[in-house]
Amino acid sequence: MKPEPASIADLLARAGVILCVGAGGVGKTTVSAALAVAAAKQGRKVALVTIDPARRLADAMGLDGLSNTPHRVTGDWDGELWAMMLDAKATFDEMVDRHATDADQAERILNNRYYRNIVSALSGNTEFMAAEKLYELHESGYDLIVVDTPPSSNSLEFVTRPDRLHHFVTKRLKWIIRPPGPLRAVSKSITLFLRQAARVVGQQVVEDSLAFLQAFDGMEEGFGNRARLVGELLKSDDASFVLVSSARPEPAREAARLGQILTDAGHGVDSLIINRLAPDLDVASSDVDPTLSASHQALVEHQQVVEAEHAEAAALASELDVSVIHRLERLEVPIADLAGISQLAATMAPA
């Protein structure tokens, strides 16, 4: 059992890997960046991996998405902050390069039409590639990696089934051309199957994919071991999950669902960050007379939002078994530069 963190600062000081998860549009990327900056302020060497940052945030961090390796972001901290924008395709290519037995094999795969299709189109690719990149960075001397995961469309499959991609490439496709022992006798039906498949997707696709599998031969083990290592890292005490949500009903429902998936997978949620809360003006909406003036009307409506968000946040917190809950107020002007992120970092983890 992993020890429960006492605060965000505590979590940042101890974790080797932090994955930020949550519904789209709740400010997950900004929160991830602030966590990374806060850890750098603690003196740690941090890598921030973002998927699809808003342009201004990307500019603020000097991210161009061109290199697929972290670059140093300088600022007012003792540690080191490195940031990168994930390029899923380049990450996959790097994997092929790493696991290929020789340059020739790598080239055959990278030039295969079916491979090029898989990489650019296989959905769920981004999160699997984020996990892969995470592992690679974890092995290369950073104290902490903060990963801003893509919005939760694929139910955190990269966490619950880290072997899925490997399974797809090596087991499922392989099964068709080289069925396991007892099934070899029925390879006639496999031939039939391939013929049927060709009728649907076209002969050429079947041929491309077979060529891909042949080129891939011998790499399964490397791929499989890697998937296992990534899975082990995500399951270890080194990995922490930070759930980010707003206190609106829909994102909160999604957050509860994600929390449940993480709990079922044996991870749990280490910290819940409730973002974009309306500031409490400290009066009960029922104590204000909205007929007095427009300002009083604004106050009543404001406090009604505060009360609704308070209830939603409390419901979410009680649904998740989480020890650290941090509430962030909605900002009147969205964060657009490193100074803003640094300020948010100071709020979450005061020095």
């Binding site: 549009g25 201004r56 649907v200 997707v201 829909e250 994102p251 003006l281």
Partner: protein
Amino acid sequence: MIVAGKGGVGKTTVSAVLGSLAAQQGYRTVLIDLEERDDLGRVFGAKKLQFKPHRVNDHLEVRSLGAHDTAAEYLTDRGLGVLRVAGSLLETVTSLTPGLQPMLQLAKVKQLATADGGRLVIVDAPAAGHALSLLRSPQGLLDGIDAGPIHDQAQQVVDLLADGDRCRVVLVTLPEETPVTETVDTAFSLEEELGIHLGPVIVNGITPVLDDLVLRPKGKHSSAAGRAARLRISRQDHEQRQITRLASELPLATLSLPNLAGDIDSAAIDVLADVLADQMVAA
């Protein structure tokens, strides 16, 4: 009609509102969820949406077109049921070709729109980049497959998507910086890269404007009402700037939906449908 936008902008709400409104006006309407999530069904009192349509009223149906069910139906209809014998075989054959599953979902949408007398089909598209990959998938298949049934199917879907008389993408945004920026980017990608025609942009979640709010000089805002007024004005102004920017960067008509307190239920959908109907009459 395909409803798309960044995550968290309220695509599902807007899809439900458009569906209700179309049905009210007498169009036979099918609302489609592509991702097998519960939100769209919940609004219409269906716990879990299924491939089988859920009937809301005489004019409105809601259903989910999950990738697996849609592919299974496609294969069965074409006498290729043998591929379904084992579920994993089906998945293998469809995942063999990236882009095939989304293309088959769109093909099913096309079939629903044209079969028996035609219907208005409203698709609650996946978030942000996933919607772009969905809409790119038929063209991608055409590039990869030269002939055969899938090629022909993909060609028909590409033709439908590019036909502004039959298909429009409605982009949804919030009056916030990042969603507006991404809406503008997505709009240009859809039009220029894929030749898809856009309908009006729907700006969702607008803070209703309170008239007569007075901003008193600083220092006099110590009262809670004064602070609430200042926050409200700042919010309204911020949203207005984003709406103005959207209009200046994107030459499309816009429709507005207010931010409603509380959860989106069927009563809220009716309120929003009325708001939209009034704007369409005015326009």
